[in-house]
């Protein structure tokens, strides 16, 4: 009896793994197709019978991508003087990549710092209006940013931030999920430790810095990963807020590439590879942290 059941469940298991393997292949296919496609000749890519593996590997698509448009690698603007130091001209796609990295990293840093502080305060400080602030945060959390796009656009215009990377970063930082998450993590800080620090004469900042921060570090890591991925793929905000070629991000750049060269699939694939590969490499390197971060976010969230 027992033996039979064992067999049946093994059967089920093998069958399921087989099905999941097929599905996994389908999931990986778009990426496979983007990367191989970017090395195909245009004849191969437009062939009515799909060429599953490039017969001839060419770099022409990348050459085309990199020779299309140029932008300075960086521009440092000195406020109030009107002086701008621009870097050497590089292919615009490289600049897009840099913009995207800058955006994601800046959004991540800002979010982590502000959220860690605010979450700590919400969890550990008994201040007036705490409940109000917290309920506002909970309410706003589920709201898609897109709902407020028109007022946000007008606001960015009047702050003269429109068409700057900050117009994308600030709404991400303002999104209150991080504060909520950090509050959940900060709840776990033992009150006794804070009391002890206070008795030792530590000020508010020092208590936060020496006691709370080390304890919520794993939470900050989780939030960092979360914010990084979310902002990397925050296509909508980027679409509304950025216009100049040199200010584009890589997802926006590819979308534009696709619109301009409707069916030059090789070129589009080259752009898509450029967008996908860096983040995939980051993902593979930090895979362990990603899974841990996502899980931790869920447990506390």
């Amino acid at each position: 009896m027992k033996h039979k059941r064992f067999n049946r469940s093994t059967c089920y298991k093998i069958l399921s793994v087989a099905v999941i393997t097929i599905l996994a292949v389908l999931f990986a296919f778009p990426l496979y197709w983007i990367i191989t496609g970017s090395f195909k000749t245009s004849a191969a890519i437009n062939a009515t019978t799909p060429q599953w593996w490039p017969e001839e590997w060419v770099l022409a698509n990348y050459q085309k991508l990199f020779s299309r448009q140029y932008a300075p690698l960086w521009e440092i603007h000195i406020p109030f003087t009107g002086f701008t130091f621009a870097g050497p001209d590089v292919p615009a796609a490289i600049r897009w990549l840099l913009n995207t990295v800058f955006m994601a990293v800046a959004a991540m840093l800002f979010t982590c710092i502000t959220s860690a502080m605010a979450g700590y305060a919400l969890a550990k400080k008994r201040f007036l209006g705490r409940t109000l602030v917290f309920s506002l945060i909970v309410c706003a959390m589920a709201l898609p940013k897109q709902v407020i796009l028109i007022p946000l656009l007008r606001e960015m215009a009047s702050l003269e931030l429109y068409n700057t990377i900050w117009a994308v970063i600030f709404p991400i930082v303002g999104w209150p999920f991080g504060v909520f998450l950090m509050k959940q993590f900060s709840e776990g800080i033992p009150g006794e430790m804070m009391e002890a620090a206070k008795i030792d004469g530590a000020g508010e900042w020092k208590t936060f810095y020496t006691i709370a921060l080390p304890l919520i570090k794993p939470g900050i890591g989780a939030l960092a990963i979360f914010t990084f991925i979310n902002s990397w793929n925050d296509y909508f905000m980027q679409l509304i807020m950025l216009t100049s070629t040199k200010n584009l991000t890589i997802p926006l750049g590819i979308a534009k590439l696709q619109a301009e060269n409707a069916m030059d699939f090789g070129l589009i694939m080259a752009g898509a590879s450029l967008a996908a590969i860096p983040i995939i490499i980051i993902f593979l390197i930090f895979q362990k942290y990603f899974t841990k971060g996502i899980t931790m976010g869920a447990v506390k969230g």
């Binding site: 299309r68 140029y70 002086f83 701008t84 130091f85 840093l109 656009l153 215009a157 070629t245 200010n247």
Partner: protein, 449 residues
């Protein structure tokens, strides 16, 4: 202590990054080297000059739609280099738009207070849309008596708003045609229905030809693309010509697409074998599928399409007028410059200087027009001497019909048009769909007046 170090490092990182970020931002309005041209030294210099004010050192932005080679940065850089040889004090930054997202991009930029200074497009946008909304500068200074005398009258009237104000200074024009894949048509024995010398065919012959091609095994003869913006002139001209309908009334005040002729034409296209209403593709996709042989004919065609796609085409392209019962009436395209009123007199003056140079300078005008691969809007002599392709297409210019795209509510009508085609394609009754389109568009036209 280690932690403090890390924290300090993170903070300094952040500060450096924010410095870079600031650059990212403000440069949008202050520096911005034209793609591929400006070196860093030039950028510094010109932004320093910008502080002195006046036309001296003005920096203007030019946004172009892909009008021939005006959408190609290498070509445009050359044109701007010519301009800077004469006017080194004015710095021009170029952005390239596409027809799928270009309008949205300009509209968000307007709302973001960063509208470009100059836009290169046609009256349907410059005059009927942004001009009518009071966003454009009156170009009366450019429209001197001399200019009025030189520029063709039909072009001039299209560049004026209903208030008589000039919102566009034209550069070039063309007649939008369609094209067929001659190899496929020959193989199917369909060439007998075509007047090859004149590039015309009657509606009946069109029906027979498409049927012949379809019967020869080409399942996709043509596609009435209707996914979105861009290339709508092709579908409009096709529908209007088949039975001699019109898109608007003669005064350009009302949409008349619900006339019997138009309904009959839409129904015909729906019923024909080999022609599909395809909501999954846009005009650009259609062109590409024609060029790679998937489709046997293209409705979104003109001389620039053939020139830009020469390397992709490995068959004989035959440009054709749209099939009609009488004389074909082709949709014209008139492209020129408009200036957004950004409230900066120096920039407006610089923009006018730029337009004047590009469109009126004796040597430059020819080059500017040639870059578009269309025809000049005034007599510049035979600028395409010896260019067989241009000669082949020039036979269509006399078929140019009424330029009705200046009718009010054009932006709304254009989106409604796509939706109407999609409805017809999904099997909605043609009359119902067209009536809805006309009601929406006329409401928008009335609101605009």
């Amino acid at each position: 202590m280690k932690k403090r170090k890390i924290m300090a490092m993170a903070l300094s990182c952040l500060m450096v990054l924010s410095a870079v970020g600031c650059g990212n931002g403000d440069s949008g309005s202050t520096s911005g080297s034209a793609a591929g041209t400006g070196s860093s030294a030039a950028t510094n210099q010109s932004s320093a000059q910008a502080q002195t004010g006046g036309t001296e050192g003005a920096e203007i932005t030019l946004w172009t739609y892909p009008i021939g080679k005006w959408g190609d940065s290498a070509t445009v850089d050359g044109l701007i280099a010519n301009f800077n040889a004469v006017h080194p004090e004015i710095k021009v930054t170029v952005e390239y738009l596409d027809y799928s997202n270009g309008d949205d991009q300009i509209n968000t930029a307007i709302e973001g207070n960063q509208a470009p200074d100059i836009v290169l497009e046609g009256p349907e946008r410059l005059v009927a849309n942004w001009g009518a909304k009071g966003l454009m500068v009156d170009l009366a200074d450019l429209w001197t008596d001399e200019a009025k005398a030189a520029i063709y009258e039909s072009v001039e009237s299209a560049c004026k708003g209903s208030d008589g104000v000039y919102y566009e200074y034209p550069l070039c024009m063309t007649a939008h045609t369609m094209a067929i894949n001659k190899d496929i048509f020959e193989a199917a024995g369909a060439m007998q229905y075509i007047d090859e010398a004149n590039g015309t065919w009657t509606t009946d012959d069109f029906i027979k030809a498409v049927q012949a091609v379809y019967d020869s095994g080409q399942a996709n003869v043509g596609a009435v693309y209707c996914n979105g913006q861009g290339g709508d002139q092709g579908t409009r001209a096709l529908v209007n010509n088949l039975y001699g309908g019109t898109f608007t009334n003669a005064e350009h005040t009302e949409y008349t697409a619900n006339s019997e002729e138009n309904i009959k034409a839409l129904q015909l296209l729906y019923d024909m074998d080999g022609i599909n209403y395809d909501a999954s593709i846009v005009g650009g996709d259609e062109i590409n599928m024609f060029c790679n042989g998937t489709l046997a004919m293209a409705f979104c065609w003109n001389i620039a399409q053939e020139k830009n796609n020469l390397d992709k085409i490995n068959f004989d392209v035959l440009p054709m007028a749209f099939p009609s019962t009488g004389d074909p009436k082709l949709c014209g395209g008139i492209w020129g410059f408009g200036i957004f009123n950004n409230g900066d007199e120096a920039k407006i003056a610089a923009a006018k200087t730029f337009i004047d140079f590009m469109a009126n300078d004796e040597k430059q005008a020819v080059e500017s027009v040639k870059a578009s691969s269309y025809w000049p809007v005034k007599d510049l002599g035979n600028i395409y001497e010896g260019d067989d392709l241009m000669t082949e297409y020039s036979k269509f210019v006399p078929y140019m019909g009424d330029y009705y795209q200046v009718v009010g509510g054009w932006a709304e009508a254009r989106t409604a048009w796509w939706n109407m085609l999609q409805q017809v394609g999904s099997g909605v009754d043609v009359k119902t769909a067209v009536e809805e389109f006309v009601a929406t568009s006329n409401a928008a036209a009335n609101a605009a007046q």
